[in-house]
């Protein structure tokens, strides 16, 4: 599903967090949003995910304005994993994943055979089948994160928004999550837009990167063109070296802060 964002402005109350943001995500692409803390990445995701309303500008899904969708219709094609979520006591993995079918629910809110098949598939894909009756509170951080992602997958979205899906996970769990996202993208053509803090991970797994700075998109494009020494200095205020692996994918090595001492 193609996503276009036009001159988007928004924020909380009087505070403006995004100011005239413009970019587009081609259908079937994996795109990472990167940028320093407070640059508006999460806010942008919340605006696309309808948690916040834009002050101005437009968000288009396959050319159709987000404001023209009814809530339920939107949730059937767009799923979002926010950072803030709550795990009720005694909630099991299977129950959580089944809640992902909520936008597709039928009379009386019961699951039909289709729903059950999708829940089973998603559990298998996220390797949670053996854990389906376990309570969320008894899982490790990586398993828990997979369970929440499984819930969004059960929504069978065509566009998936993920806010920091790999934060607080060890390096192996991070790769598990990224491989899962790539598999999903390759298998079903799901378009993915995610906020990542690890620049090298973002460069390695994304078709495109969007780098944000102070309420605006600073630059966007192939990782090769975004992850450059100049951009890292301008946006993150770091001195960094950028190298390329055998496939030509860039990776960076941060050498130190480039922030002027008196300002820090």
């Amino acid at each position: 599903m193609k996503l276009e964002v036009n001159k988007l402005t928004g924020g909380y109350g009087a505070e403006l967090v995004l100011d005239g943001v413009e970019f587009s995500v081609p259908s079937g692409a994996i795109v990472s949003l990167v940028g320093p803390n407070g640059c508006g990445k999460s806010t942008l995701l919340k605006l696309i995910g309808r948690v916040l309303r834009p002050r101005a500008g437009d968000i288009l899904l396959d050319g159709r304005s987000l404001s023209a969708f009814r809530g339920g219709d939107c949730a059937r094609c767009l799923a979002m994993l926010p950072q803030h979520r709550h795990e009720p006591a005694g909630l099991s993995v299977g129950e959580l994943v089944a809640y992902g079918r909520f936008p597709h629910r039928h009379a009386l809110g019961l699951l039909n055979d289709d729903d059950r098949r999708i829940v089973d598939e998603v559990l298998a894909m996220t390797r949670l089948t053996a854990l389906r009756s376990r309570h969320l509170s008894t899982l490790s951080g990586g398993e828990r994160q997979r369970a929440w992602i499984a819930m969004t997958l059960a929504q069978t979205p065509r566009l998936l928004l993920l806010d920091e899906p790999t934060s607080f996970l060890d390096i192996c769990c991070q790769f598990e999550i990224i491989e899962l996202i790539k598999e999903l993208n390759a298998r079903g053509g799901t378009t993915v837009l995610m906020v990542l803090h690890d620049l090298n991970l973002a460069a390695a797994c994304s078709d495109q990167m969007i780098m944000m700075k102070e309420r605006k998109v600073y630059c966007a494009g192939a990782p090769r063109n975004v992850l450059t020494v100049q951009n890292l200095r301008a946006v993150f205020e770091i001195d960094a070296r950028v190298n390329y692996d055998d496939a030509g994918c860039p990776y960076c090595l941060a050498m130190g802060s480039a922030r002027p001492r008196d300002r820090a």
Binding site: V51, P82, P88, A89, G90, P103, H135, S137
Partner: protein, 321 residues
């Protein structure tokens, strides 16, 4: 399976509650007495005193319990109970004002307490509104409003200390001298509230995952939240107006039910309703038999027997609130 057990427990509490008290009849005798409608003393006691009291206890227990389940889900807080949105304090103040200052209008007690409860809940909701409701603001507004209304109640009682004794029953929660009139006054609201709760419980599951997640799943968060809060307030207001400030059942019945049923509100709600009814009927019958000929109010039994039992269960069952 667990449901059948809960249902059996509830029926057992009902039979126990009808059987024991000042008048003790065997179950067959109770059935034949009620069947014959002979108008004798036994029949009078059973039909006009015992049955409405037991039935009201069951309704009140179910209402408090379901209200508690809804609030724990909406506020995402295991400590939430019907008192937290101001219903108890509001109903208490209105009830006390009618009993102390307008003693001749005793008939207005139930409607006044009902209105007071709902108004307090509305006040809490309005005070916590600021571009939407946050659960933290709602809880804090509830605590603040409850404290204020509680102080007003104390002031009213202080200046009318000679009449305060009669109010004690109400502030503890009691089922004594409740009649069919009380049942008639509150059951329609309770039935409506229970139906609304059952209709909304699938959405409550989603709301309990957090606002952002719920929006992502296509839930109209503010609309569903206000509907659920209104349902919880309606149930608690009806219950408070019928028996007074009976605490604890709205807190523990949801947790007990969760230990048995799990966290899916579609099953948790009816389970908690059965357990709440069971608890109130059981505690009321205990209060009637422990020290005859006088009786202890159900509120006292609930608060004395409830906590140790609850804590024992908490330790026994591996459970994380």
């Amino acid at each position: 399976m667990a449901f059948l057990a809960l249902l059996a427990l509830c029926v057992l509490a009902f039979m126990f509650s009808v059987r024991f008290g000042e008048l003790r009849l065997g179950l067959p005798e109770i059935v034949t007495t009620l069947w014959r409608r002979d108008g004798g003393l036994d029949y009078q006691i059973l039909w006009y005193i015992r049955l409405p009291r037991v039935l009201l206890g069951a309704l009140v227990g179910a209402s408090f319990a379901v209200s508690g389940v809804i609030l724990q889900g909406v506020l995402r807080n295991p400590l939430a109970s019907p008192g937290i949105i101001g219903v108890s304090a509001g109903g208490g103040l209105a009830g006390i004002v009618v009993m102390v200052l307008l003693p001749r209008h005793g008939g207005a007690m139930v409607p006044a307490a009902f209105a007071g409860s709902l108004l307090a809940a509305l006040l809490v909701y309005v005070l916590s509104w600021k571009r939407g409701v946050s659960t933290i603001r709602l809880i804090l507004a509830g605590v603040a409003v409850s404290a204020m209304l509680g102080a007003l109640s104390s002031a009213v009682l202080l200046f009318n200390a000679e009449k305060a004794g009669g109010v004690l029953d109400f502030t503890i929660g009691s089922l004594s001298t409740r009649s069919w009139r009380h049942v008639e006054q509150v059951w329609p609201y309770m039935a409506l509230g229970l139906l609304m709760a059952q209709a909304l419980c699938g959405r409550l599951n989603i709301l309990a995952l957090g606002d952002d997640v719920a929006v992502g799943l296509g839930l109209q968060v503010e609309r569903v939240r206000v509907a659920l809060l209104a349902t919880a307030a309606l149930l608690a207001a009806a219950a408070v107006s019928a028996v007074g400030l009976l605490g604890f059942v709205g807190l523990i019945a949801p947790h007990l039910a969760r230990m048995v049923i799990g966290s899916d509100n579609r099953f948790l709600l009816p389970a908690a309703a059965l357990l709440g009814a069971t608890l109130v009927m059981a505690c009321d019958s205990v209060g009637r038999v422990v020290m005859p000929p006088s009786e202890l109010p159900v509120g006292i039994i609930m608060a004395m027997v409830g906590p140790p039992f609850f804590l024992w269960l908490l330790r026994k069952v591996s459970y994380e609130a």
